[in-house]
């Protein structure tokens, strides 16, 4: 029986990828990251937020990108809890985002002796896009009204003195979507509130023109960004644990690209591949 190579080659690549990553997940390898400038800048921006201002953690993500945005959210919330920076979880693109942020914050708050309402709050999900963000920047209590437990947000001590975007020390947009531009246009552009960005790897190249123009203070680029942040915080979380597997997958993909090109060039030389020189007789 002849093997259908066209059918099996792709499946074998999936299998090789699964093995290459699984091995490095099961074998403990201590990854050490080179901390990039954008990640370091975001870390310092969180540290520099004064005590009279709140940090907004904009959880604009959902389960589909948990692999990247989850460790980023965890690292950023951990830093806020560790430093005692008050923060608010908020979402306006993906409805599950604030709930996922809530789960992470609830799990992390105990070791740092922080409490909901006193040290942090969850504003929940809101619709309305750009006009809502414009309204939010002018009047936070009027736009948000209630937290996820349906209590007025101003009844919590953590909200003391937080009325407009000028009372926000830093907004960190954690997202796989193009929501950053709304924060920049309607909050940074008008109120000069600093913006940080934690995005998926796909979105990272689009962030750098904003970082270069100083419209955002720092960038966390996908899982690698989360791993850099974990290293800055001095703990070994999911991102650092996954980085050896990530590097192994990348190495395999590079090897497969080289192999694919060699096979293609050989076939082309023999006149068996598209792009081959046609010989006329």
């Amino acid at each position: 029986m002849k093997l259908d190579w066209q059918f099996w080659s792709r499946r074998l690549i999936w299998l090789a990828l699964a093995i290459a990553t699984a091995v490095f997940l099961l074998v403990k390898v201590h990854a050490r990251m080179y901390v990039s400038r954008p990640a370091l800048d975001l870390y310092r921006a969180v540290e520099a937020v004064p005590p009279d201002k709140i940090i907004v953690i904009s959880c604009n993500w959902e389960m589909g990108t948990y692999g990247e945005n989850g460790p980023q959210t965890e690292a950023l919330i951990r830093q806020c809890l560790k430093l005692g920076k008050r923060f608010a979880i908020f979402g306006w693109t993906w409805p599950p985002g604030p709930m996922l942020g809530q789960q992470i914050a609830e799990r992390l708050q105990r070791p740092y002796h922080r409490r909901y309402g006193r040290d942090w709050v969850n504003w929940g999900f809101n619709t309305g896009g750009s006009p809502m963000i414009r309204g939010w920047a002018k009047n936070i209590p009027g736009t948000i009204k209630e937290d996820i437990f349906h209590k007025p947000i101003m009844s919590y001590p953590v909200m003391k003195g937080v009325n407009t975007a000028r009372d926000v020390g830093l907004i960190i947009d954690i997202t796989p979507s193009n929501t950053l531009i709304t924060w920049i246009e309607f909050v940074y552009g008008i109120y000069r509130t600093p913006i940080g960005y934690a995005c998926t790897g796909v979105m990272a190249p689009e962030a750098f023109p904003y970082y270069d123009a100083h419209q955002i203070v720092g960038v966390l680029k996908g899982l690698a960004g989360a791993a850099e942040y974990e290293q800055l915080l001095g703990y070994r979380g999911d991102a650092l644990k996954r980085m050896p597997a990530q590097s192994s997958a990348h190495a395999l993909i590079i090897a497969l690209i080289v192999l694919g090109n060699v096979i293609y060039l050989r076939a082309r030389r023999r006149g068996q591949a598209p792009g081959a020189r046609l010989t006329t007789t």
Binding site: G64, T65, G67, P95, N126, I181, G189, T200, A213, H250
Partner: protein
């Protein structure tokens, strides 16, 4: 067939009751959750072998769950506290206009009343255009300013090098997008060609990031399957 149906109903009912009680009293909630997540993950990954019924079933379950959860969140966290309560409990009668404008969108289904949909769409188009102008000034103008970079006397020297690379990339890529006239002159043609190459490098970098992102998601699921699910499997 007749004798099988009642038994099947009883078994399904018993299973549903056991599952409900187990979750309600936290007997096997974590284990059940992990098992459900593992089955769902494997069902979705089954597409890697070939198209199949199990993948389609779980794909539809996910779409239904996402739509249901989104609807629930919008109703509970947005419509009730920000529209229903002010309108009916706090006497803010003017919130009725939000309902009227919102309803106008649905007039598209009637030939007679579809003009009302155009009024609502026109209103929001005007709103978006106005916000777009604000966005251009506050979002893009600083980037235009930031593209004027000094090319010499910078410390440390790599900044100077970076700025030169930035300048060459900016000029050559812009020259590639001059489509108003034919690029005949060798200088313009050469610049446009270099711009195209630099664009290819940028696309390669973007694609590399995309691969990195997709691998991160795969690793997340594999970590779950290997360390959370199989551990439970081993204990069971």
């Amino acid at each position: 067939m007749r004798s099988v149906a009642p038994r099947l109903v009883i078994w399904l009912g018993a299973f549903a009751l056991a599952a409900y009680l187990g979750i309600r009293f936290h007997v096997f909630a974590p284990t059940l959750g992990i098992w459900l997540a593992a089955i769902a993950t494997l069902a979705i990954y089954s597409i890697l072998y070939r198209e199949n019924v199990v993948f389609r079933l779980f794909e539809h379950i996910f779409i239904g769950l996402a739509a249901g959860y989104s609807l629930y969140t919008v109703v509970v966290q947005v419509l009730i506290p920000k529209w229903f309560t002010p309108l009916f409990k706090e006497g803010c009668w003017y919130w009725i206009f939000a309902f009227l404008v919102g309803t106008m969108f649905y007039s598209v289904y009637s030939k007679r009343w579809s003009w009302m949909n155009r009024v609502a769409v026109g209103f929001f188009m005007g709103l978006s255009a106005g916000l777009g102008i604000v966005g251009f000034v506050t979002g893009l103008a600083p980037q235009l300013m930031a593209s004027f970079k000094p090319l010499w006397a910078q410390r440390p020297p790599y900044v100077e090098f970076n700025n030169v690379v930035f300048f060459i990339t900016l000029v050559t890529v812009m020259s590639y997008f001059f489509f108003s006239f034919e690029q005949r002159h060798p200088a313009v043609r050469g610049s446009a060609r270099l711009g195209r190459w630099l664009l290819m490098i940028a696309f390669g970098a973007i694609f590399g990031n995309t691969v990195m992102a997709r691998m991160s998601l795969l690793i997340d699921r594999l970590q779950f399957l290997l360390l959370q699910w199989l551990q439970v499997f081993g204990k069971g």
